[in-house]
């Protein structure tokens, strides 16, 4: 049921009158896409023609403010398809509700029509409805309540963010690598890849089996680059196109040559060779010493046995002589 245009002013004349009118007009509410909308005193819904004709889904969002809210309250909303949007701000204050000035702005320009204001008790409600068809309608929508201070609530509409890799992708000359871009729960119309040549973005064309673009699911895209050269390194951009905007992500590719890890490898191999040589030489050295001392011990032992056999007094003389002969 369509509300009478005469009743729909940009600003309600008096909150109480509007409330009375809304109580008289009972209209069925279409289902809201966002189920978090609280129970609002608006029972009549100003439906514009476009909103009636299209079959876009509804997005409803709500912000609550009080006179004591110190920080600006923001709500980030991710949107990828054209939608009908229903934004509500509620403001609770102990002062006079009539003295509050309510405005809506998109980015920084004031919106003239299409919003409703009503009040219950000590809370002021304002509602703004519009349709997002393309990127022009995306942005920041703010509701302002001005008493002495201005309280502000902002709804930020953004396209879904893309996730690439935070760290650079490292690969080697002659290898092939795959750059992936994906976004959660989103279905872009189109994916494109760009490579940067200095500061110029050049779209990546599918040339000669070097570049292959495909993706297993709608929410991801993969760029496969084969036969890498050192020049292929650099910044790559993946670009997702939605009906309501574009989103892009940056991926860094580094192409190394084999010499880069080879140098530390050779250094470590040299170190191991030295270590093994040191251990084996050390052992040979201690063994030689052991053998010398062993030989000396053996001679002493044989001398001991011989001296035990022979008589006591004559021991010294033969022993010395024998030692000398052996020593030579």
């Amino acid at each position: 049921m369509r509300a009478l245009p005469g009743l729909l002013a940009a600003r309600a004349p008096t909150p109480r009158l509007l409330l009375l009118l809304q109580c008289l007009l009972a209209t069925a509410r279409p289902s809201s896409a966002d189920g978090s909308a609280p129970d609002l005193p608006f029972t009549s819904l100003p439906l514009r023609e476009e909103m009636m004709a299209n079959n876009f889904s509804w997005e409803s969002h709500n912000i609550s403010l009080t006179e004591h809210s110190s920080m600006p309250v923001e709500k980030n909303i991710t949107l990828e398809r054209p939608s009908n949007v229903n934004l509500t701000c509620q403001f609770t204050t102990s002062g006079d509700l009539n003295a509050v000035n309510v405005t809506w702005k998109k980015d920084s320009e004031q919106l003239e029509n299409n919003y409703l204001v009503s009040a219950t008790g000590s809370t002021l409600y304002t509602q703004y409805r519009f349709t997002i068809i393309n990127s022009k309608q995306m942005g920041s929508y703010s509701c302002f309540f001005r008493e002495e201070k201005e309280q502000r609530g902002t709804f930020n509409f953004k396209v879904p963010e893309l996730h690439g890799k935070n760290k650079p992708l490292i690969s080697y000359v002659g290898d092939s690598t795959v750059l992936t871009c994906k976004c959660q729960n989103c279905f872009p119309l189109n994916w494109t890849w760009y490579s940067t040549n200095g500061s110029v973005k050049v779209p990546v064309g599918v040339q000669m089996n070097k570049y292959v673009i495909n993706g297993t699911y709608a929410n991801e895209t993969k760029l496969k680059i084969t036969q890498l050269l050192e020049e292929d390194g650099g910044s790559y951009w993946c670009h997702a196109l939605f009906q309501v905007g574009e989103s892009e992500e940056h991926i860094e590719l580094v192409v190394l040559s084999y010499l880069v890890p080879l140098k530390p490898f050779l250094a470590i191999v040299a170190e191991v060779v030295l270590l093994v040589a040191a251990i084996l030489l050390c052992e040979k050295y201690t063994q030689k010493e052991k053998k010398h001392s062993d030989e000396g011990k053996e001679f002493e032992q044989t001398e001991q046995l011989k001296s035990d056999d022979s008589n006591g007094i004559e021991n010294n003389v033969p022993r010395h002589r024998k030692n000398e002969s052996l020593g030579q």
Binding site: L256, P261, F265, I268, V276
Partner: protein, 427 residues
């Protein structure tokens, strides 16, 4: 020259402990941290994770199945040349893997080549360690095996750092250089001058004598059952935690906690095994039973504190049983058959290690959660510990020494004959 009839229990033995420490770090630490490479391999080759996991599975399988070969060779040539060759093979495998263009290439280079390299290093080293220690054998083994725990700690972030700077090819190249240190560790393995040392009969004779040795066979069965349940938490704990809605970071932290208590368990158990009189088998049974119980309790625990406590308990008890499992062997078969015995043991118990995780995974697929897997793992451990009861001297009050008096008497004529050979062998 005085020949020792008892193992020295010190001296150069501690250097062997150090060598074994680094070797277990370089073999098992690398294997356990290989998970870091998996993500890269999956991305680089576009293959499923299951097919990529075969790389490590083949490596572990070859390492364990090839242990008898390593043992047999070290009985013949001594541990040093065998371990050094193993180190070269392991490093070569990694080096070739860095040039891989397909997954099969990796199966062959890391799985087969590095795996056989690892097979030639681990069993001979532990056997050599047992030759150097008798009274403090458990402590020495425990200290040596702490290398596994510490390296799992250090290597995982280190490999991650390598990957972020050199990608997988460069990282494999550098891990190959790291594995080359196995050669240096092998160089440290001086064969001890033990009277019992000369191999009585060739490897084949030892093998047949072992296969007829009742207690040894029972011990092998017990360890195989233990092995079946042992590895399951390492593989499936994180997945189980994620089933309970844990975040990846706290889950990894829980694994680290288990790893630390594993480390402590190894050292404490090693010390305890030597300090407590009586056969080591009793302690082994105690730790195995406790591990089985803690495993079976895992599905019951829901609260984070209970899970942390169980993780600590599991880590401690499973770490505790590791060094004892190796110390019991010389008591059973004697130091002269230690090389062969260890190799054979590793080969047979690897069957358990290979079958356990897939069985656990299969139970998970069939029942939908890990309750059955953990309970079955606990059951395997408990049955293994039950078989330990049947080992000889379990109920005796005295511990068996490695050299029984009757062995020495029969050996006496052999000693004189083999002395000149020993002198030549030492070079």
């Amino acid at each position: 020259m005085a020949r020792r009839t008892e193992p020295p229990d010190g001296g150069w033995g501690w250097v062997v402990v150090l060598s074994a420490f680094f070797q277990s770090a370089l073999v098992f630490g690398v294997l356990r941290s290989f998970g870091v490479f998996f993500v890269e391999f999956v991305a680089a080759f576009g293959e499923q994770a299951a097919r990529v996991s075969w790389i490590a599975s083949i490596g572990i399988a070859v390492q364990q199945f090839g242990s008898p070969v390593g043992s047999a060779l070290s009985t013949k040539f001594g541990p040093r040349p065998v371990v050094m060759t193993g180190g070269i093979l392991a490093a070569l495998g990694m080096l070739l893997a860095s040039f891989a263009t397909s997954l099969t290439h990796l199966y062959l280079s890391i799985g087969l080549l590095s795996g056989s390299g690892w097979a030639l290093t681990f069993a001979p080293t532990l056997a050599c360690l047992s030759c150097y220690f008798s009274r403090r054998r458990s402590l020495a083994t425990g200290l040596a095996l702490t290398g596994v725990g510490l390296s799992s700690f250090a290597f995982a972030p280190f490999f991650q750092w390598l990957l972020s700077h050199y990608a997988w090819r460069g990282s494999l190249l550098l891990v190959s250089a790291l594995s080359l240190h196995l050669v240096a560790c092998g160089a440290l393995l001086r064969p001890p001058s033990l009277a019992e040392d000369p191999a009585v009969g060739g490897p084949r004779a030892q093998l047949t004598s072992l296969l007829h040795h009742g207690p040894f066979l029972r011990y092998t069965v017990a360890l195989t059952l233990i092995n079946t349940g042992y590895f399951i938490p390492y593989l499936h704990l994180v997945a189980h935690l994620q089933d309970l809605d844990w975040d990846p970071l706290p889950a990894a932290f829980l694994l680290s906690v288990a790893a630390i208590s594993d480390l402590v368990g190894r050292v404490v158990s090693g010390w305890l095994g030597d300090a407590v009189p009586g056969p080591v088998t009793r302690l082994l049974m105690l730790w195995t039973t406790l591990t089985g119980v803690s495993l079976a309790l895992f599905p019951v625990a829901r609260a984070p504190t209970a899970l942390v406590a169980l993780a600590v308990a599991y880590g401690f008890t499973s770490g505790a049983l590791a060094p004892l499992a190796f110390s019991v062997l010389p008591e059973l078969v004697g130091t002269k058959r230690i090389y062969c015995g260890l190799g054979l043991l590793q080969m047979i118990e690897s069957i358990g290690g290979l079958l356990g995780p897939p069985l656990s995974g299969y139970l998970r697929d069939v029942t939908g959660n890990y309750t059955a897997s953990f309970v079955v793992a606990g059951a395997f451990l408990l049955s293994g510990s039950g078989i330990l009861l049947t080992l000889p001297d379990f109920f005796s009050c005295f511990s068996t020494t490695t050299s029984r008096p009757q062995d020495l008497v029969t050996e006496a004529p052999d000693i004189k004959v083999s002395l000149p050979k020993e002198g030549l062998e030492e070079d």
